[in-house]
């Protein structure tokens, strides 16, 4: 018994030492989780999860990192092996309806989007990019391996690094989208596995695929970037942000009752925060609900938080999951939101795109950009990446606003090469206030080689979303009479960080039909018939046009030789 006791003590000490080592060595890793719920104008519910993992290591100094605590090892190895400086990847199923839902917290185009900044020490960027997409394809169980030179571009201005560092040479940037990628459970599971608590505890408990995919919009993303550790920015650390945005439809499963709870949305309730999380919070946007007329929350929370989000001052109710009191006596949290719906919005900036024309020879891409600001114009960066099989006629590019020609102040155009690279068009366009700016561009549809058609050629071919990036004047800055909370002296000049905010808008992808041979039996029949007709016609033509003459049978060899000799002698032939 004594020995056993001793052993226990020793073991306990050992564990203590081990824990100490862990805490001292890499204990500065940090994990935060949060969920924002925002009842939308259309009556839908927008839920946005963010999981942030900070990793205190510096790849640039020490090359070999073998110890991982909260940061997923698979991604850490990717960063170090492929000299990644920044990595942004998103998988989206559905299209964000700006007109009904307003701006999303994190925009993303339908399908898969991947953009990566590499370290400027890297020499073979294209080769690394190819390897990286294949590795990510395996990690996220997605068809990212279909990213090759025909759909990769190097935008010159639209995608700037979001982390620290001022490398802006776009030779180290690669951007690609796969508009056709379908996102499903198989992509969600590997994404959840990157979380330190998996889906066992914390907010991730709510992520049940049967509910997440029973929604109007689903988008999941991973963002990796270097950030400063302190104010001085002496040391850096890696930030991994995993985000998941879902819009739930009231109509589809609510049976007309506008009553929502965490349980109804996710078929789970919350019982605890993730134990390793330093912060675990739920924010509920109650800005439109100051008097409680739109919806009511239960259980109510006394905590309120204010922030300027997307240029608008918003108020949030906050539930802190690290506090036991949040869960009340039931030891579980189930928020109930009762709401009603209202009609369409006029977001300051939105865009749409479509293909005009008919027939299978030519067409025209129209991109419409709306500036709904009543008095301020602002510039936007438009990025278009169009596959090579739509041959753009760049001389037909027109930009018009309010019926007048609107000359872009910056155009970067890289023509396509057949089967090698896509068209890239970037433009800086000034959008006049309260206007629609229309960009049109004609194209010709190429006839592909027959092996280049997809197995379903009659479905059409996708053209990825255009990306519109802009600094939009904020609503807060617009509201000059707002002196309720702020002293007068502070509100004359709008402060910089509130006067405008960054917005990225993705248009819908296009589905374009190319001239397609009929890969079927009647097609063969037509080919065969045409051959027969051609042969028949040939003989008929022959009959009609050729004139026949009866010719002497050809002379024998001796006679021919004799004739040649006679010819040389200048005597008439035999």
């Amino acid at each position: 018994a004594m020995a056993e006791q001793k052993f226990r003590v020793r073991a306990r000490a050992l564990v203590c030492v081990f824990v100490c080592v862990v805490m001292c060595g890499c204990g500065r890793d940090d994990f935060q989780e949060e969920l924002v719920i925002r009842p939308l104008h259309s009556g839908d519910i927008y839920t946005s999860f963010q999981f942030r993992t900070l990793w205190e290591t510096d790849f640039t100094r020490e090359n070999k990192v073998s110890h991982y605590r909260l940061f997923p090892k698979s991604l850490g190895q990717v960063i170090s092996k492929f000299s990644v400086r920044e990595l942004h990847i998103s998988f989206t199923q559905g299209y964000w309806r700006t007109m009904q839902w307003g701006q999303p917290y994190l925009p993303s185009p339908p399908g898969a989007e991947l953009w990566v900044w590499f370290q400027d020490s890297l020499t073979d960027v294209d080769g690394t990019w190819k390897e990286l997409t294949n590795v990510l394809s395996g990690i996220f169980c997605a068809s990212l391996n279909f990213i090759d030179s025909t759909n990769t571009v190097q935008p010159s201005a639209s995608f700037k690094p979001l982390g620290i560092g001022n490398v802006t040479d776009h030779r180290f940037l690669r951007y690609a989208t796969l508009p056709r990628e379908i996102v499903c459970t198989e992509n969600l599971t590997p994404w959840k596995k990157l979380l330190p608590c998996g889906s066992k505890a914390g907010l991730a408990v709510l992520l049940k695929s049967e509910k997440l995919f029973h929604s109007s919009f689903h988008s999941q993303a991973v963002h990796i970037r270097p950030v400063c550790k302190d104010d001085q920015c002496k040391t850096t650390s890696w930030e991994l942000r995993q985000t998941l945005n879902v819009v739930f439809d009231l109509h589809n499963s609510g049976q007309g009752k506008n009553e929502w709870s965490l349980f109804k949305m996710f078929s789970r309730t919350l019982t605890e925060a993730c134990p390793v999380a330093s912060s675990s919070k739920i924010y509920i946007d109650i800005t439109d609900n100051s008097q409680g007329e739109q919806f009511e929350l239960s259980p109510a929370t006394p905590l309120l938080s204010q922030a300027v989000v997307l240029g608008d001052r918003r108020t949030f109710s906050v539930y802190d999951l690290t506090q036991q009191i949040t869960f009340g006596t039931m030891r579980s949290l189930n928020l109930l939101i009762r709401g009603k719906s209202s009609d369409m919005l006029r977001p300051l900036l939105h865009a749409e795109r479509y293909v005009a024309g008919y027939g299978l020879q030519t067409g025209e891409i129209h991109t419409l950009m709306y500036n709904n600001h009543p008095y301020r114009s602002f510039p936007v960066l438009l990025l278009d990446s169009v596959p090579w099989y739509l041959r753009l006629y760049i001389h037909t590019l027109t930009v018009t606003s309010k019926g007048k020609d609107n000359k872009p102040s910056y155009i970067h155009y890289q023509p396509s090469k057949d089967r090698v690279r896509p068209h890239l068009l970037e433009m800086l366009v000034q959008l006049p206030p309260n206007s629609v700016t229309e960009v049109t561009l004609q194209f010709e549809r190429a006839l592909l080689k027959w092996t280049e058609y997809t197995p379903d050629p009659n479905h059409g071919f996708y053209v990825g979303s255009s990306v519109i990036s802009s600094l939009v004047p904020s609503i807060v800055a617009m509201d000059t009479n707002n002196s309720r909370e702020r002293p007068l002296f502070s509100s004359f000049f709008p402060s910089k960080e509130e006067s405008s905010y960054f917005v990225r808008v993705y248009t819908e992808p296009l589905l374009v039909n190319l001239p397609t041979p009929d890969f079927s039996m009647p097609y063969n029949v037509i080919c065969l018939t045409c051959t027969v007709v051609a042969v028949g016609y040939g003989s008929l033509y022959n009959l009609l046009t050729r004139s026949f003459q009866i010719e002497e049978p050809s002379p024998g060899l001796a006679k021919r030789i004799a004739n040649i000799i006679r010819k040389m002698r200048g005597v008439p032939p035999l």
Partner: protein, 596 residues
Amino acid sequence: MGLLSDPNRRRALISLLTRLNTPICIVCYMAGVAWFMGLAFEPFTLRTYMSENAMGSTMVEERFPAGERALATGREFSAHKKRTGGMPVEWLMKTMQAKGLEVFTQRFSRTLPFPDENKERYMVRGTNVYGILRAPRAPRTEALVLSAPCSPGDNNNQAVGLLLGLAEYFRNQIYWAKDIIFLVNEHDLIGMQAWLEGYHHTNTTGMDWSPLQGRGGSIQAALSLELSSDIITSLDLVLEGLNGQLPNLDLANLFYAFCQKIGVLCTIQGKLQRNDWDSVSGYSHAVQTMMLMVMKQASGRPWGDHGLFLRYHIEAATIKGVNSFRQYKTDATTIGRLLEGMYRKLNNLLERLHQSYFFYLMPSLSHFVSIGYYMPAFGLLAVILLLRALDLWVQLSTPPQRTEDGSSPGVLSLLTPLVISHLTGVALYMLPIRFQEMAVEHFPVSETEAVVLTAIAVYTLLSPGTEQGWRVLKLVAVLYLAVLLGCTALINFSLGFILALTLVPVAAFVTPHVPKVLSAFILVILSPACTLLFSVFFFQELQEMPISFQDGWLLFLSVISQGILDHSLYGSLVYPLITLLVYPCWLLFWNILFWN
């Protein structure tokens, strides 16, 4: 090719062809007509079958419950329509919004080239209202359209009601993979044309419309609904579209399959299917059905709102509810379930409908004749032209006195009739619209007068020509007609076949040496204008609505004006084809007859 390269055999073949030319031509003509009539005989036709896998094996369950409520909505719509005296735009927008759609409107206006007497309109101004049901988790790349026209009077209220009812029901379903656009178009085809042009941002006919605000990507298929009573006895499927284009046969198959499944009587050309194909009456029923389709297709006009979609490669059909005195009744819930089933199957489509036929004739809803079967009928007629051309060629090349004659006929003597007849065609094409201010009331009459007058004018203008001259002219005319009819038949078989039926005999027999008066009479009888006149009577006969000659003449005139309107409003090509190409070709034969 030994047969043709051997001069002896070649001579034998040629002499055979020239000697037996007339009998062969007659046999070919008879065979062509007989082949065509045989197409409606059921053992010679194929049963329809679903070719598209995505629509075939996948089962869907129809659950639409709210037919009565849809009819109530239809009555409400009718009340609002009466109150506003047109399209109740506000009410429709509010209703669609309440059902959870994204609602948009489009205004359009159009001044017709001359007043349309059938529909009593000249300056048309209207508004289309459409709501888009956004499919969950779909990126706005594909869409389906369900449309119902807002017709004057008490027509089609039930169609709009059912459309709104379906919108409400569809909104609550999760399975949609394509956006669904619910469109209520004003002024039937004009509104539809405006909407389609707006959606695809093209302007082919010079209409004024306001740009569309909301879109759903590329439209995969569309159905247009026409219902005018609460209870119907059968549903009629209309397929014929602009310029004789037809939707993919799978769309018809889909409709037929659901009618069978749900148990709704379905018709095509308003004719029920009969099982007694072996009896004479059964066969004549099938012939009538097919002939109606041929006549409608040959007219080149859209026979329903769906007809305009086809230009944009969107498979579309119109479904018409018919209320007759039959015993079998169907209520709105059943029609709603039928439409729900069709849309769910269309929603399952992975590719555009392309598996089945685009060129077909239907002697009944369950049987079809594909292009491979009906083309020989036309081929047999067209081969007559080639045989005649061969005959003429041989005649032109063999006689040795050609050299004595001085020279072959000059290019000028050949060009003159060609140019003049085409100028006449151009005049015929331009005049009706140019002179409409002068003769707003009577222009169709003046148009037919123009035919006769110009024909005679051409005849008197001609200078005398040689024996060789008319042969060369006829050779050119016959080959011209062969190419013209061949191309027409490839695009619109029915039109090509009907024209071939009348013009081929003309082309075959006409020479300057036949009796002039009789031949001239026959030539006029077989002219395109008279063909149209006969077709009008024949069509009425087929629809079991025979009319007197007086009414027939009036109908004939209105058909001509409709044809011109179709051309200027929707871009139908039949009118320019007839005036610019077919009629000059006929004039060439007229020239040959009066060659001296």
